[in-house]
């Protein structure tokens, strides 16, 4: 009896301390000084408790106090809740305080705006969001936000990210899972050792005084260095379907059996059609290519996400009838078509983005934002992007290349790495013949060929209107004043993945006049012009996520009334980041040959090396501006 009383007393005194702390946190003047540096907002207090009731229900409780220091920090208080028919918002309240901690506004659940949460690119989705639309009167101000949400779909347990993006510091953050169920919970923490973060038990973490981080040029993506705790239930329920997740293997097995199985039935006419289409093809490669192109011409990308349909692909037969689907439906449809002609392929879950992001091979959970198809191949797997109506067969550079993906096989899930496009094959080769007249104007024939990742950067222009195609070249060569594009021809060789742009251009004032001299930059058509930002104290490592190679050869024909007065020396630089060289050769009295090669390597480098990297690019910028001096003979 006395013990119990004591316990209650202790608990009570604890709670009073907590409230007292709370009040002080509402006053902006109590923010520790070093948390204000480079911060637009400060998370004063953030407490998340997740009560797992059973494999199909958990309750998420959050109390958060955020002080916003300026207008850039307005989005930092996370005053919104997503919900749908499997997620109920029990309670929701926000209070706004002025800089001294005086309450100025209270917002109840029904005063939050309630709108559909359809993201760009999606035609329809059943998810909704309640959010607070608050206009600040003065800075700083503080918002206290409290919510309780019940989830009946347990595939995602909210993870913990105590630093909420750049320019935001954290005074205190706590994360706790109370497991009242008989289901085991997996947990993985990353980058927590580099910060002031304490782990109290398997499912209980807290952090204090985390300083704000600021972005820097070429820095790796935020999630690679920010602290994070990921959690997942080993048995879960997703929109009414039960699932298991101990390893990638059994999670993948679940995806295969529950989401993909029995979705591949096709109408008999289509089966006949693709069999007929591929009857003369001899290899699996050729057959698959024909089927991929057939699919590209027949379908288009439309995204509709409803219930389990947000995870389960649309039936292949439906895709065939409607001629549209999202990434899941189109990948699965292609898989079904390939199966009919005897080519096996696997559905794969991945992060589709220009930036490279891996599926975490060490921790299985519901991940990814995209689906693709993989045809296993002894030498090199073939990856298919089924949402594109234009991609060459097997080409994935720029969106799903060089990353870990989850391959779904009948035996279970497997982590595999997608195609890597190496530095030497991400090639851009530019050749030009330039005629320079004695008034400083030029006319030139330019041919740009791109391969690999650089193909992905260039080929999109062919589908644009002529006006934009011309503007595209004018932007690309924006350093040439008075550039006029007289003709452009494109050739897209999809079989070999080579994109060729042939252009005729003129500039009325290419050479810079200085009295009777002309300054001419021999590198007319491929200049590096931007030097990476200078940092007094670089704080983050840096990364080149894709390497590339540029080669250039320009023949410059000079008007006979001009003669060459001065010419730069050849340059050759090589270091860990890449290499750069150019040479200038007089091939006749009035003809010069300019050759250039620039290679930038893929790599991850410590922050101390940034200065040297910047110096390298700066040298290139300088040498790309190198000039020849011409003088009038008369």
């Amino acid at each position: 009896m006395p013990l119990r009383l004591l316990l209650t007393l202790v608990l009570m005194s604890f709670s009073t301390i907590a409230i007292a702390q709370d009040d002080a946190l509402l006053d902006a003047s109590t923010i520790p000084l070093d948390l204000k540096i480079k911060a637009n907002a400060v998370i004063r207090y953030d407490q998340v408790t997740i009560e797992v009731k059973s494999y199909d229900k958990f309750i998420y409780k959050q109390t958060q106090i955020v002080t916003v220091l300026n207008a850039q920090g307005d989005s930092k208080p996370g005053t919104y809740v997503h919900y749908n028919k499997n997620i109920d918002v029990n309670s929701l309240e926000a209070r706004v305080y002025d800089s001294r901690g005086e309450e100025i506004k209270k917002i109840r659940k029904n005063d939050f705006l309630d709108v559909s949460a359809v993201s760009g690119g999606t035609l329809y989705s059943d998810s909704r969001v309640k959010y607070l639309d608050y206009t600040p009167i003065n800075y700083p101000y503080t918002i206290r936000f409290e919510t309780e949400v019940v989830y009946h779909s347990t595939a995602f347990l909210p993870s913990w990210m105590p630093i909420d993006g750049f320019y935001c510091s954290t005074e205190f953050s706590e994360y706790k899972i109370i497991n009242e169920s008989d289901v085991a919970i997996k947990v993985k923490s990353s980058n927590v050792d580099n910060f002031d973060i304490e782990q109290h038990s398997d499912y209980h973490f807290s952090a204090k005084n985390l300083k704000s981080l600021k972005p820097e040029a070429y820095s790796p993506s935020f999630q690679t260095f920010a602290p994070k705790v990921k959690v997942a239930l080993t048995k879960f329920r997703m929109e009414g379907v039960d699932g298991a997740n101990n390893t990638w293997e059994d999670f993948g097995k679940w995806v295969h059996d529950e989401l993909l199985a029995k979705t591949e039935v096709l109408p008999i006419e289509v089966i006949t059609e693709v069999k007929e289409l591929t009857k003369d093809a001899t290899t699996d490669y050729d057959k698959a290519k024909l089927v991929y192109e057939y699919m590209q011409n027949k379908t288009r990308y439309i995204s509709v996400q409803v219930g389990i349909g947000g995870w389960k692909p649309m039936l292949a037969g439906e895709v065939d009838r409607l001629g549209y689907a999202d990434c899941k439906g189109l990948s699965n449809y292609t898989k079904a078509l390939l199966k009919e002609i005897g080519v096996e392929s696997n559905y794969a879950i991945i992060y589709g983005d220009r930036g490279i992001r891996n599926i975490d091979k060490e921790f299985s959970s519901v991940e990814g934002n995209h689906a693709v198809l993989c045809i296993p191949n002894d030498e090199k797997d073939i990856w298919l992007e089924c949402t594109s109506q234009t991609n060459p067969f097997g080409f994935t550079a720029g969106f799903t290349d060089d990353r870990d993906a989850l391959l779904i096989t009948p035996e279970g899930g497997k982590i595999v790495h997608t195609t890597v496009y190496p530095t030497e094959t991400n090639l851009q080769d530019t050749k030009a013949t330039i005629n320079l007249t004695n008034d400083g104007s030029i006319s030139a024939d330019v041919v740009i060929k791109t391969y690999g990742y650089q193909y992905a950067l260039h080929e999109g222009v062919q589908n644009k209107p002529l006006r934009d195609q011309k503007l595209n070249l004018k932007e690309y060569w924006d350093y040439i004043n008075g550039l006029s594009v007289d003709a452009i021809v494109y050739d897209n060789d999809k079989d070999n993945v080579v994109f060729t742009e042939t252009a005729k251009v003129t500039s009325s004032s290419y050479a810079t006049k200085s009295g009777k001299r002309f300054l001419v930059q021999p590198n007319a058509f491929n200049r590096v012009t931007g030097i990476p930002t200078r940092y007094k104290n670089r704080t983050l490592d840096f990364e080149i996520d894709r390497g590339f190679t540029d080669t250039d050869e320009f023949i410059i024909k000079i008007d006979p009334t001009l003669k060459i007065e001065a010419m730069p020396d050849d340059v050759s630089i090589s270091n860990a980041y890449g290499s750069y060289q150019f040479s200038l050769e007089k091939i006749s009295e009035n003809e010069l040959l300019y050759k250039r090669k620039y290679v930038l390597n893929k790599g991850y480098y410590p922050k101390e090396d940034y200065k040297a990297f910047r110096a390298f690019i700066s040298q290139i910028v300088k040498h790309d501006k190198t000039k020849i001096v011409l003088i009038s003979k008369t």
């Binding site: 480079k38 300026n70 207008a71 850039q72 506004k105 309630d114 709108v115 559909s116 359809v118 035609l123 329809y124 206009t135 009167i137 003065n138 011409n297 027949k298 288009r300 439309i302 509709v304 439906e318 009838r321 409607l322 001629g323 549209y324 109506q389 234009t390 589908n463 644009k464 209107p465 002529l466 006006r467 934009d468 011309k470 932007e475 924006d478 350093y479 004043n481 008075g482 006029s484 009325s508 004032s509 810079t512 006049k513 200085s514 009295g515 009777k516 001299r517 300054l519 012009t529 931007g530 930002t533 200078r534 007065e565 001065a566 700066s618 910028v621 300088k622 501006k625 000039k627 001096v629």
Partner: protein, 649 residues
């Protein structure tokens, strides 16, 4: 004889047409037809479009319901055009009584497969209903089995309890082969009709009337047009708002004359429109109340007699006291009194309160109704033609426009969203008049640049800048909230090996004075040594290298927002051991009467002095002057990049 023949022809062509465009009947020829287009902008082509507006009398609905009938037949020409197979219709959905109904949706996709026409029906699985928020609902649909070469066709109706008719776009972003437009309105509703006069495509409309007998007898006013080859509307850079140039029919409700009721006027002239706005309690009443701020304003103005100083104090007080919630409007949202208490309000809350306070302090302050750039230029006496209100002080010798929603705007320097042609001032006696909103005075940006060349060929020196009016406002908008570090970084960015030190800003907070900026710089890559000579552009990192006007031709005017004067005074010390080999020639270039560029360079002992200035006296460049202007600007860029050559002695 001859007339008869014409009539016959007309009849024939009519019957062919109606046969052609019957819903659900697409011929093999139409599918096989190819379109010769030298511009691949066009992803799709509207083969046929019908837009009908009718009013139906519904006894049980308590009167007339507006019915909009849409029918479109679109051919998909390439993959970019596939998006035309998906549609999204917005519907008003406030309550049962005032919601719009979407009905009778039917659609087909037609394809040509091995010479046969196939037809896929739009089913329920391609139709989606989305409750966007408490006011709006979206109906979306996407057509089945669409590929390049398909024709999609759909029709639907919108039934609405409102008698206001939405603007009808005659142009879309793709060309239309045939467009049948018909708007029939009962005699009880009177509309002002107008085709956008700024559009480059202005069709001819037929106006007629007919009679209805069921359920009772009344007459209809009918506007119709059978149009062929309606061109696509294409956007261009530097256009203030492409909608201003779109061909469209605007039907503004001006009056209702129901049987056995009084006439009710909606709008007839700008005077009437402003009068009605003035009578709106969310507008006029806001100007009269003073009790809620009286004591505070009295305290601020204690001892101040000069009206200009009074206005200054009040303007700053309103700016600091009430924050703008990003909502436009010429009527008060929650009332100025509440806005004052909460410290938040919409445009009208803030500016009507400002006017009220200025009047209280004895100034002649009046509201000016404005249509912002996003709202387009009002074509028509309509209350919807305005979406914003600002303040004008008309005291003897002191005539200014004010907008207290933005921190950095000041006397006659308004947020750029407001700078749209003209506004309508409403004076205290209720009379109103147009006033010009476009800034007339030049906003200036004066830079003085000192250049010292070091023996290692780096350059160092000092920069002093003075910015006024709009140039100052824009600069404050961009940089006032940045730290010194970020400010420096943003100047250094894209300027090569430039390092900025000791940056200082004067009058950053005093918006009535010019913004002054000084800093020291070090430029490591400003000079090129080739052979024995040194080459450099005297404007250093201030030289613009890129002509923003890249298009070859233009259809619409360029909006430069405000007239400006950009001036550089450059002082270069010639380094020891060098002499001038060549200097850029002094030159003056003219753009019509509206702009000029001067470049003066002279040697003064061991110093080189340059004055470079660009003046634009107008903020609008007409499309017909585009080529001249582009040429002018190109010469400006060329001149700025010219080099000084120094030789070793």
């Amino acid at each position: 004889m001859k007339t008869q023949f014409t009539v016959l022809l007309l009849l024939i062509s009519f019957s062919i047409q109606s046969q052609n465009y019957k819903f659900g009947k697409v011929s093999e020829e139409e599918l096989a037809q190819t379109f010769d287009s030298n511009d691949s902008t066009i992803g799709a082509i509207m083969l046929y479009r019908k837009h009908r507006v009718d009013f139906e009398y519904r006894e049980n609905n308590g009167g007339f319901m507006q019915k909009v009938e849409v029918h479109q037949r679109i051919k998909i020409l390439n993959k970019e055009g596939l998006k035309w197979a998906t549609n999204k219709v917005r519907l008003y959905n406030r309550s049962n009584a005032s919601s719009e109904r979407f009905q009778s949706l039917k659609g087909y996709t037609f394809n040509l497969v091995d010479g046969d026409v196939t037809k896929d029906k739009l089913k329920n699985d391609g139709v989606f209903d989305e409750e966007a928020n408490k006011y709006w609902r979206y109906k979306s649909f996407t057509m089945p089995n669409v590929k390049v070469g398909s024709i999609v066709e759909f029709t639907y109706e919108i039934l609405s309890p409102f008698i206001q008719i939405d603007e009808i776009d005659i142009q879309t972003s793709i060309p239309t082969k045939v467009f049948e437009l018909k708007v029939s309105t009962p005699e009880y509703f009177v509309y002002n009709k107008l085709l956008n006069p700024r559009a480059s495509y202005i069709p001819k409309l037929d106006v007629s009337s007919s009679n209805v007998t069921i359920p009772f007898s009344y007459s209809l006013d009918v506007i119709s047009a059978d149009l062929k080859d309606v061109p696509a509307l294409k956007d261009e850079p530097f256009v203030n708002n492409i909608d201003n140039y779109k061909s469209k029919l605007i039907m503004e409700l001006s009056m209702t004359r129901m049987p056995r009721s009084n006439l009710e006027y909606y709008s007839t002239s700008w005077d009437k429109v402003t009068e009605r706005i003035y009578q709106n309690p969310d507008f006029g009443d806001q100007l009269d109340k003073s009790s809620y701020y009286k004591d505070d304003v009295d305290a601020i103005l204690a001892g101040v007699t000069d009206p200009i100083e009074k206005s200054f104090l009040i303007f700053n007080y309103v700016k600091s006291k009430i924050n703008w919630n990003d909502f436009y409007g010429y009527t008060s949202e929650n009332g100025a009194r509440k806005a004052y208490k909460d410290g938040v309000g919409n445009v009208a809350d803030i500016n009507l309160m400002l006017i009220s306070m200025l009047r209280y302090a004895g100034l002649r302050a009046n509201p000016v109704l404005v249509s912002t750039k996003n709202n387009g230029i009002p074509l028509f006496p309509t209350r919807q033609g305005f979406d914003y209100v600002i303040c004008m002080i008309e005291n003897e010798g002191f005539n200014v426009l004010l907008d207290a929603t933005e921190d950095y705007s000041t006397y006659n320097v308004l947020p750029t969203r407001v700078l749209n042609w003209q506004g309508r001032v409403i004076r205290e006696n209720g009379s109103s008049a147009w006033i010009n909103l476009s800034p007339s005075s030049l906003s200036t940006d004066v830079t003085s640049l000192n250049v010292k060349i070091n023996p290692d060929l780096t350059i160092e020196g000092k920069v002093r800048q003075q910015k006024t009016d709009y140039v100052a406002m824009n600069y404050r908008n961009r940089y006032a909230n940045l730290s010194t570090d970020e400010h420096i970084k943003s100047i250094e960015r894209n300027n090569g090996e430039l390092e900025i030190m000791d940056i200082e800003i004067e009058n950053n907070k005093d918006y009535t004075k010019p913004l002054k900026l000084t800093y020291d710089y070090n430029l490591a890559d400003g000079i090129e040594e080739i052979g024995e000579n040194l080459y450099f552009s005297p404007m250093l990192f201030f030289a613009s290298e890129e002509n923003p006007f890249k298009q070859e031709t233009r259809n619409f005017p360029i909006d430069l927002t405000y007239p400006f004067s950009d001036k550089y005074m450059i002082n270069i010390m010639i380094p020891e051991g060098y002499a001038i080999e060549s200097l850029p020639q002094s030159e003056k270039i003219q753009f019509n009467d509206a702009g000029d560029f001067t470049y003066l360079a002279k040697q003064n002992g061991s110093f080189l002095q340059l004055t470079v200035s660009l003046n634009m006296k107008t903020s609008i460049i007409l499309a017909q002057d585009y080529e001249t202007f582009k040429g002018f600007y190109s010469k400006v860029i060329e001149k700025q990049s010219e080099k000084i050559v120094l030789k070793k002695i």
